[in-house]
Symmetry: C2
Subunit: 427 residues, 2 copies
């Protein structure tokens, strides 16, 4: 049985290094990814800091993090150029000299020989480690990671590019954290993912099911509400937490999405593939985002035929064959048009199911009855055609994301609700 609690409680501090992260050039993907990984391993990320490529503030931040936490992770600043200062900063903060790592140098020389490149003195900077630290081979890049264990604490320096950082952390850092009892073997919590119920009513349903001492936390994102159940002081094993999750599932009913971290789009693709059925999409206000989310999932082509993004009334008539009269009488944002779009999508693509979205994403548009944020969903299967009106909050970008989540959730409900009928009608 997987160990659900680490043998000692571990507090982490993440330090992301790089000027670009502080200038709004791009989001800090490392924090999202590492934040989830650490939480799943039962490690509490106590704080995250983003600092510039400057030695003095880096040294200061590393020193404080090292004093206050059991695990310090740095990202970036390991490259060959003179503004890559993470090694120097760690060495100074911990009062250790930087020494060459012969193994890392051999690996670098082999890598460069293979691509016919000369090794310069600058390149060799990447092969130095603080004394007593270990190079972590990085087959996807030139800069190895570095791991330092000292005074019962761990410091992991990871390369900046995500494609190098993620496998290096999962394959080389996590096993060491597990070995020293800081990370648990399996997931530290059982997550129940829901859609359609608020965090407060969900909490009211879950609380009575918990064993004394069990902990409950919530995460919400664009309509999805996640409840994470962890052992806390109860000492419960994973099986006991799964037992609670099963009871939660019964209590929550249709609003239960899954146990774990699967997203609505991957669940839809998986379910369709299992049924051996295909889906076609017609989109107006979401403008392609619904199809994009579905096709983010590897292997989507087995389940998703495609989408018609009919962004104009003309396109709705020409591409989907929506009658001009229907558009004139009910408007492009209406239950009637959503149903017609879903039916047309399924027909045009020869798919088993059709899913449609039409609404007012804003900032312009809307009517007194259907203000900005109003969205109609359409669903077509061999059992029938339905439409549904929802209202979502937020700006244009958020309306798109929430409308897509609502559509994917409705697809999920319909696929389970009408599975039998669809089979009878031979959808």
């Amino acid at each position: 049985m997987a160990q659900t609690q680490s043998t000692r409680s571990c507090r982490a501090h993440l330090i992301n290094i790089g000027d670009e992260l502080l200038e709004g050039v791009r989001p800090n993907g490392h924090l999202v990814w590492l934040g989830e990984q650490l939480a799943r391993k039962g490690i509490r990320l106590q704080q995250a800091s983003i600092v510039r490529d400057e030695l003095a503030p880096m040294v200061e931040e590393i020193r404080q993090a090292w004093a206050g936490c059991d695990l310090v992770i740095t990202t970036g600043g390991l490259g060959p150029t003179t503004d890559d200062l993470t090694r120097e900063a760690v060495a100074q903060a911990l009062g250790l000299p930087l020494v060459p790592d012969p193994e890392a140098e051999v690996a670098l020389r082999q890598r460069f020989a293979k691509i016919g490149r000369q090794v310069s003195d600058l390149d060799l900077r990447q092969c130095r480690v603080p004394q007593g630290a270990l190079s972590l081979p990085n087959p996807r890049g030139t800069s190895p990671g570095i791991l330092l264990e000292r005074d019962g604490k761990v410091l992991a320096m990871l390369p900046g590019p995500g494609l190098e950082l993620q496998p290096l952390f999962a394959e080389q850092v996590v096993p060491r954290l597990r070995a020293c009892g800081s990370a648990c073997d399996g997931d530290a919590y059982v997550q129940v993912r829901t859609y359609g119920i608020g965090a407060a009513p969900l909490e009211a349903k879950i609380r009575p099911l918990l064993l004394p001492g069990m902990q409950l936390t919530f995460g919400t994102h664009s309509g999805v509400v996640d409840a994470r159940i962890s052992p806390g002081s109860s000492g419960a094993c994973r099986d006991r937490m799964m037992e609670v999750a099963r009871k939660v599932r019964d209590e929550v009913g249709d609003d239960f999405v899954c146990t774990g971290h699967a997203c609505l789009a991957s669940l839809a693709v998986e379910r369709l593939a299992k049924l051996g059925r295909t889906l076609a999409v017609a989109e107006s206000c979401t403008g392609g985002l619904l199809a994009s989310r579905l096709t983010d999932i590897p292997g989507a082509s087995a389940a998703v035929a495609g989408s018609i993004v009919s962004y104009t009334e003309d396109a709705k008539m020409t591409l989907l064959g929506i009658p001009a009269d229907l558009l004139a009488q009910h408007g492009a944002v209406s239950a009637e048009v959503a149903a017609a779009m879903a039916t047309a999508a399924a027909e045009k693509f020869g798919a088993d199911y059709g899913l449609a979205v039409t609404g007012w994403a804003g900032p312009g548009g809307g009517t007194p009855d259907d203000p900005v944020g109003t969205v109609y969903l359409g669903y077509a299967s061999s059992s029938g055609v339905w439409s549904r009106r929802i209202v979502v909050a937020g700006d244009r970008a958020q309306v798109k994301i929430r409308a897509v989540n609502a559509a994917l959730d409705w697809l999920r409900r319909n696929l389970s609700r009408y599975a039998v009928e669809d089979a009878v009608h031979g959808a």
Copy 2:
């Protein structure tokens, strides 16, 4: 003339408060948005910290930030519940008592009366401020922001929701920073956005054009390379920087995208609207993301007719009328099919231009000649039909984003290159 340099150099520290930001539930959008805003105002964001909803670490972080910087911004933790602790933390860190703000209380009571809600003692917690601080009215939410000026420094506490934070910062905090000489009136730098040239060759082109003392920094994101030119010690005014930017434009040629922050999608929509022309899209590997990016732009419906996401070979034949023989001979990922898709998109939607993307996004697929990451773009106009092969790096998600950027950039080039021919042929 807009003032391009703040009268005194200002260093900022951003503190984002919230457990969810540390558990990978969602990205920290505040850092991206505020990071760009501060950079544009000439304020140097020195560090960003993300801390949990716990009093002691919040107090410690605020104390350090206040000691080391001229401007401290906090986000979140201003609500009515007992785990909203930002006010308490700031008061403790700065050694100030919390006092009720009568104006904020009046505003809250009016707001609640309007929606027929009782004001509880918990609600009134939101109307307290550290002594000497100012409530910043928040018409979009119940928690006002707070601004504290003291010892020549500024501390701004902003509410957590982005739709409340952003206007509050722009409308109430920035004017005060400008008044005390910490923020400049216009943008602090001139940004030259490029696509198709690397940061190193771009730097080689720009360096000789700079006046002595001018500063140059770079930002890269999914193929886009931004060069930011700021006055540095040159004391140059905005006009002189724009002069440099114009010279950079001449040097860079077709790789020049724009001066400023406009994204590739908004430039495409704007350009099409100006020409009075429409675009239709056909997508395979990008799965709807190209259409979604275009329709992120308010008013896109004037320029973007829609998209056909033909994710399967069947869909390419049925929806776009791509001949089965063409698919069989050249494969769905080929220059020939990309050209046919672009032509079909324009025809089916009755649009002036067609833009198509087909490629291998991975992780599966690819051929020895066209491995994962290979993408063919197609472009159709009244002047002709072209296709182009590109190779992009990254995982499935990154290939999608980079292929979309490449398609939008190619559209931009084609629209300027063939503007005359298109007009002659009456596209």
